[in-house]
Symmetry: C2
Subunit: 195 residues, 2 copies
């Protein structure tokens, strides 16, 4: 992401214009930029006076999803559990920003369905953002050294390399963090929230 922003914060909607609380679900490959965008978005929402929590997949594995591995079933359970908590929070007026690889479409759609079932009157409470940074860019960033370890044969089952990633068919937003700077990424999500 570049350092310079092209949209000033002052031009953005205020807390009230953002409407009722949402779950913003960032899905994408490791090192795609999910956590970075999540933290920046949460800071923006908090600065606007909105209660907000970040549920980060890596952090969640310390308590909420401790003990879960990386099989398909365990990845799905990870998504299900984080989605359950996100639903509880956002249906009570707390914005939630989830940064979770969440590679499988069915599991993400189940979280969306849970939100809809929970508050049918708020069909747009779940906002899926596909952080679609290409795998070669992610591998070059390699924030946690996973791509290098996979190449070295130390790990396997790396999403997008030797484990599947199912891209969303109709996400509310697609973000290329290699083409937009961080402020622009946040601006685009905020624009969806305000629409």
């Amino acid at each position: 992401m570049n350092a310079q922003s092209t949209v000033s914060r002052e031009a953005l909607p205020d807390a009230r214009a953002l409407g009722s609380a949402r779950t913003v679900w960032l899905t994408g490959l490791p090192s795609a930029g999910k956590t970075t965008v999540a933290r920046a978005l949460a800071a923006r929402l908090a600065a606007a006076g909105r209660p907000v929590e970040v549920l980060d997949g890596d952090e969640a594995r310390k308590v909420l999803t401790a003990g879960l591995g990386f099989s398909r079933a365990e990845r799905d359970e990870n998504v299900r559990r984080i989605g359950y908590v996100a639903d509880l929070l956002s249906r009570n007026g707390v914005d939630v920003v989830c940064a979770v690889i969440s590679p499988f479409r069915d599991a993400r759609d189940e979280v969306r369905a849970r939100h809809l079932e929970s508050t049918p009157e708020s069909p747009h409470r779940f906002v899926e953002v596909w952080v679609s940074t290409p795998v070669d860019v992610c591998a070059a960033r390699d924030v946690k050294g996973l791509y290098a370890r996979q190449r070295a044969g130390e790990i396997s089952g790396l999403t997008g390399v030797d484990d599947p990633y199912e891209a969303p068919h109709t996400p509310e937003l697609e973000l290329r963090t290699d083409q937009l700077d961080l402020d622009e990424c946040v601006d685009r999500i905020v624009a969806v929230l305000a629409s």
Copy 2:
């Protein structure tokens, strides 16, 4: 619990007087009345215009703590996970009423410590209520038939019978649901919240 209430709802504090959001943690034996009190308290808080969620141990086992058994380690993990979610909610302004056997003192104290660590400026956000209905009353109620099944030898590890229950040393409140009617139980909790 008796049908008649001795304290009218009108005499109770309004939403604002109840202050910032809390986690009310109901601990006690099976059939002690935790879920019944939790639902009635949640209804009272909701009627006062406060956002509120009930986290019931039995319900939680469907998603949040699905797959966990009843060993000491698994019971503690159950408590830890529900406590984690309660903390997330109440630190963001959502009242949470937890109805969980939570037999072990250390696990409950860990949840209390998590709340304190999360918001040191709100030391009274975690409210432990010991639903201390005696085991013979609980066994006579036997809402889920657990006491009968234990007597018949069909199950073992029933809290308070052949599995330990460690009563709180200094709960914020003790409730004998065999001596108070339901409204009185709720009144007493609300009085603690308003104090």
